[in-house]
């Protein structure tokens, strides 16, 4: 029987993090649910693998010239952090404000954008949009460096309204033009040279040169603008201030947060949670942290309906499995191959397919991606040399009086320690049938890699291959 408090905490950590080992789970359980929510939403010392260690051993993650090393760098952060919400919110904004390497050829600046999401992603949405508008990677991604006072480029202005805040149908074409005028002059330092280098994918003579924001007053259209019914000599900050106070913006942000942190589909009960988040958006001064606190405390989020109601994204799948296995806690060759694995599953970090980001939910699953997902998780969780798996074996032994597990207990306790994961009766009987083939498991005197441990590894492999393991 799964303890409901444990199951609820595990549910929270699958959403506000990447799942949790039993040791992590116990740490959060000690805080109580409210304390855990507060701890997750107020990241302090992330405790992740320090940059100096990463840079010492991985020259590619020190220079960050190419995509592979940069994605691997972020992987390390996600795998090793003790503040998983910090990485999870960065991943959320990375999917929503999707900026990709292909056009930029500038991974360092993409990672600077991700760092900005860590820094500002739980704060005021208004401030976040200002930071986003000053982000050099976004500026080049949506051509705001081509948005001049003398000739506007509407690309950023359009997406700011359509994809990043209010959503289509809540503004006019004239609003897009006026919005774009307000962001003229918002560019990056040495914009022309950097644009040439980006377009040619030039690394010469001395590797990449990272980017920074630059405001060119002489290129800014300082004239009067009318935007969403308000008139003034608006600059970009003024436009964002108007955007932030729109009801449509509140609904947009609340819905996207809900779909990432609560459920792929919005049911009637889910919509009630969204309404509460919208109210918090306004009452808190657009604070994302407060909206999420509201969400995590809603009746809906804490209900059975919300559990396992999301398909894990590839990044969640891979990072969650590695955090459970305990691998890659120190710099090691091969981390770049792990980030490649996520790409094969359909989600390459720093390379969203378009500015719309990834299509999530059930669209993560197709036959090819499913094979990749199952193979990866099964391999990662069945290796009895991994520290996390060794910990599971020790816990299994400690859970018995005599070191012997009945087959059904082996299945149930593996499900418990990998989650708890709730599975269908059909799945459960498959797992128990498999365990029954070899009878009771005697873990007394087990040695690394022996047949007893391997039986645990095989059961974990089977659990990782279940339909239910694909869900968060």
């Amino acid at each position: 029987m799964i303890n409901n408090d444990t199951a609820l905490m595990a549910h929270l950590l699958r959403r506000a993090g990447f799942g949790a080992s039993r040791t992590e789970l116990e740490g959060y359980m000690a805080m109580g649910y409210d304390g855990a929510v507060d701890a997750l939403l107020n990241p302090s010392d992330p405790g992740n693998m320090p940059d100096d260690l990463i840079r010492r051993y991985h020259v590619e993650q020190s220079e960050l010239r190419d995509l592979a090393g940069s994605a691997a760098y972020w992987m390390y952060r996600m795998i090793s952090t003790t503040c998983p919400m910090e990485e999870k919110i960065a991943l959320f904004w990375h999917g929503l404000f999707a900026t990709g390497y292909a056009k930029l050829n500038q991974a360092r600046s993409l990672l600077n954008q991700v760092e900005m999401f860590r820094r500002s992603g739980l704060g005021s949405f208004e401030n976040l949009l200002v930071e986003l508008s000053k982000d050099p990677a976004m500026i080049v991604w949506l051509d705001n460096n081509e948005n001049h006072g003398s000739a506007i480029n509407e690309n950023y202005g359009r997406e700011l309204l359509e994809l990043f805040s209010m959503g289509i149908g809540n503004y006019t074409e004239d609003d897009i033009k006026e919005c774009s005028r307000a962001f003229t002059g918002w560019t990056l330092g040495n914009a022309e040279y950097m644009a040439v280098r980006a377009s040619k994918d030039s690394i010469w003579p001395y590797g990449r040169i990272a980017w920074h924001f630059d405001y060119r007053d002489e290129d800014h259209d300082d004239g009067e603008k009318t935007f969403l019914g308000e008139t003034g000599k608006f600059n970009g900050e003024d436009i964002i201030s108007i955007i932030a106070k729109q009801e449509s913006t509140a609904r947009f942000v609340a819905t996207r947060l809900f779909q990432f942190f609560a459920a792929d589909e919005v049911t009637e009960a889910g919509d009630k949670a969204i309404q509460e988040m919208i109210a918090t958006y306004f009452s808190s001064g657009y604070q994302i942290r407060d909206m999420l606190r509201t969400l995590f405390h809603t009746e809906y989020f804490r209900s059975d309906e919300a559990r396992f109601s999301r398909v894990k994204g590839p990044v969640e799948m891979v990072v969650g499995a590695i955090r459970m296995s305990g691998n890659y806690q120190n710099p090691a060759l091969g981390i770049e191959k792990v980030s490649d694995t996520m790409l094969y599953m359909g989600q390459g970090l720093l390379q969203p397919p378009t500015v719309e980001g990834w299509h999530e939910g059930s669209e993560w699953i197709d036959s090819g991606a499913l094979v990749e997902r199952v193979n990866f998780a099964a391999k990662e969780l069945s290796d009895v040399r991994s520290p996390g798996v060794r910990s599971i074996i020790d816990r299994l032994q400690a859970s018995t009086d005599d070191g012997v597990l009945e087959p059904s207990d082996l299945a149930d306790r593996c499900l418990d320690l990998l989650g708890p994961i709730e599975v269908s009766d059909e799945t459960h009987s498959v797992l128990v049938d498999y365990a029954n083939r070899q009878g009771a498991l005697d873990l007394n005197g087990h040695q690394p890699g022996d047949s007893a441990e391997q039986r645990v590894g095989n059961m974990l492999r089977l659990v990782a291959a279940t339909r239910e393991y694909q869900l968060a």
Partner: protein, 343 residues
């Protein structure tokens, strides 16, 4: 903008920059260089660490101070004889043999300066003479070899043929202890200097490991360090430190007192000029750009500043000296080295 402090005791004049990023597997240019040695003929040997995507190109490139690229040697990535996985540092002995450490394969590989693979030795472990992540390496006047055994938190002394002589050190922050040490050098009296990387200091020992002194502490002030990677000592006893985490080089007096600070002042290398000459559009935009920008507060760290201030050191991982009073600063992230001449 001055990128060098001054000292009444020592002056270093910037000479030139050599290098260009090498994106392929052959030809001039460097791929994440990690160390340099210079032979008596003035030939400059550059160890290319390379990233995983270019691992097959792990090699030693050879050039001259006159920008002539002479070629390269190596057998690519792997654990066969003459191959490397994560090469770290080099030392040159009086018999024109180059000792190259590999922190992944736990071995020392020996080539001669003609580029011929000679042999390798090293066994992973924590016993006497065994290695766990060999990093810095140097040779004293007797031809004995000192290897920084980073994960064993010690320095080991070997004969030139790899026979164990002595070792010292343990994990910690007290005198004579280490935390992931990296570089090593000897002075004219064969004292041994170790860049104690994660303790942010340089430690000085006698030739057989007796602790003599410790220089520096954690920080960004003069005489303080942030993850020093490499150390070199000239004939007058001046101590050169690659203050990697602060993206700078510092020079200490023989007593460890602060003397000089270099931030880097790279100019366009000859190879870079040739690239720009064949890419006029890029050259034209570059010439009107400001490559010493003032950055927003959130990017105001040495790493970020160097990532977009091209003349500055970025990843200054190694300091090397030749017998003409020149200092070579190897920059991993910029695929080049800057040369300074002691006045």
């Amino acid at each position: 903008m001055s990128t060098q402090s001054t000292s009444s005791n020592i002056a270093l004049d910037y000479v030139k920059t050599i290098g260009i990023v090498n994106n392929g597997f052959n030809g001039r240019g460097f791929a994440n260089p990690y160390d340099i040695v210079v032979d008596t003929a003035g030939r400059i040997f550059v160890l290319n660490r390379c990233d995983p995507a270019r691992a097959a190109a792990i090699r030693v490139g050879i050039c001259t101070l006159d920008d002539e690229y002479l070629g390269e040697f190596g057998k690519g990535s792997g654990t066969a004889g003459g191959q490397f996985v994560w090469p770290v540092a080099m030392a040159l002995d009086s018999q024109d043999r180059i000792f190259i450490t590999d922190e992944h394969s736990h071995r020392i590989t020996i080539y001669n300066t003609s580029g011929e693979y000679i042999s390798h030795w090293g066994k992973v472990g924590a016993g006497d003479g065994e290695l766990d992540g060999p990093a810095g390496v140097t040779v004293d006047s007797s031809g004995d070899l000192f290897v920084v055994d980073q994960h064993n938190s010690r320095v080991q002394k070997f004969t030139r043929d790899g026979k164990f002589i002595v070792n010292w050190g343990s994990f910690g922050g007290s005198d004579g202890q280490f935390n992931l040490p990296w570089g090593v050098a000897v002075d004219g009296e064969d004292n041994v200097y170790v860049s104690d990387w994660r303790n942010d200091r340089i430690q000085k020992f006698g030739n057989n490991g007796e602790f003599l002194a410790s220089f520096g502490s954690s920080g960004q002030s003069k005489g303080q360090f942030r993850r020093p990677t490499s150390v070199a000592v000239d004939s007058e006893g001046f101590i050169y430190v690659a203050d990697w985490g602060n993206e700078r080089v510092q020079v200490l007096g023989p007593d460890g007192s602060f003397e000089l600070l270099l931030q880097g002042e790279a100019t366009m290398s000859k190879w870079g000029e040739e690239y720009l000459a064949s890419n006029p559009e890029e050259k034209a935009e570059r010439e009107i750009s400001n490559l010493r920008p003032v950055l927003p507060d959130h990017l105001n760290t040495p790493y970020h500043i160097s990532s977009q201030t091209e003349p500055y050191f970025w990843g200054p991982v190694s300091v090397s000296l030749d017998n003409q009073g020149r200092l070579y600063v190897t920059e991993t992230n910029r695929h080049r080295f800057q040369v300074y001449q002691k006045r």
